[in-house]
Amino acid sequence: MNILVIGCDQVGASLVRDLEHIGHDISLIEKDPEQLKRLDAFDDYRFRGTALVGDPTDPDTLRQGGIDNCDAVAAVSEDDSVNLMAAQIAKSIFRREKVICRVSDPHLQVLYHKAYEIDTICPTVLTEQSVFRALAK
């Protein structure tokens, strides 16, 4: 699959690595050029996809990043608003079907999943659940 990943913090960089490991083609968009250095920090992995520095909430940047030809979009930057705006552009302007969005605020996650039908993943809820399970055993 062609996958467009937005954001290259620790989550984005690891996601890109793991997806490339199982044979997907990755295109990456990140605002901050410094963050792209993370891709070189892995011992046994080298990034083979294309990385673009730009504003992921700008449709022109998304187009440059190949959104027209991708099979899935993962908006996983640290900024909830950036992810939500990029995900909505991917869904309603570029008509991508598979759009996954990282949202740290649990309230926002529920709202955007319900009202805007975006697949949202909330690290806050996942962490809480893991800790709870570890302690409740």
Partner: protein, 221 residues
Amino acid sequence: MKVCIAGGGKVGMYLAQSLLAHHHKVTIIEPQEMLCRTLADSLDIPVICGDAISFDTMRTADVASCDAFVAVTGADENNLVACQIAKREFGVNRTVARASNPKNRELLHTLGVDTVVCGTDNLSHILEREIETDTIRQLLSLGGGTASLNEILLPENFQFAGQAVKDIPMPGDAILVCITRDAEFIIPHGNTTLLPWDRILCLTQDDTLHLLMDAWGLSGK
């Protein structure tokens, strides 16, 4: 009317002042504590210190009771998300967002914000026009910066001088509103003639104004 403003910078503060002057009730949400103090001291209105894209802050600001929600922070994506929360979660009827990037004006509207205002775009339009020519002056920006009322001073060598309005080309969407000739005020009809040094008021779509200027030989000097 009760209005909640997200973003207490210069735009938010002046907006609050002018809304207060028109007897509206205003609440401001602003994340920076220092700014909040200044706002609370100078405006005597409720100021909520917090992130505008958080449910808790918006609940504290009682956004659900507001008639309008205006997001004027410097980040377009925050303005979008704040307006969407205000609308979908708190049921606010009218949402307005500021777009810093002119490209986002259409985009934010498509994504559900009722009104999008782009200061950068409006300002650059005005500046561009002032620089382009001194025969034309924008008096009023209309339709959210897509149309305007302009004053045009017809030059000495105006190519349609002495001709009737009905015979002069009017390309694009434009309406000739009135003519000021020395001290005389004229509402034009088809047979009214235009003369050099007439000051005319013209209502146009911004993207077709240049067609009129070209047709009348007024662009460039």
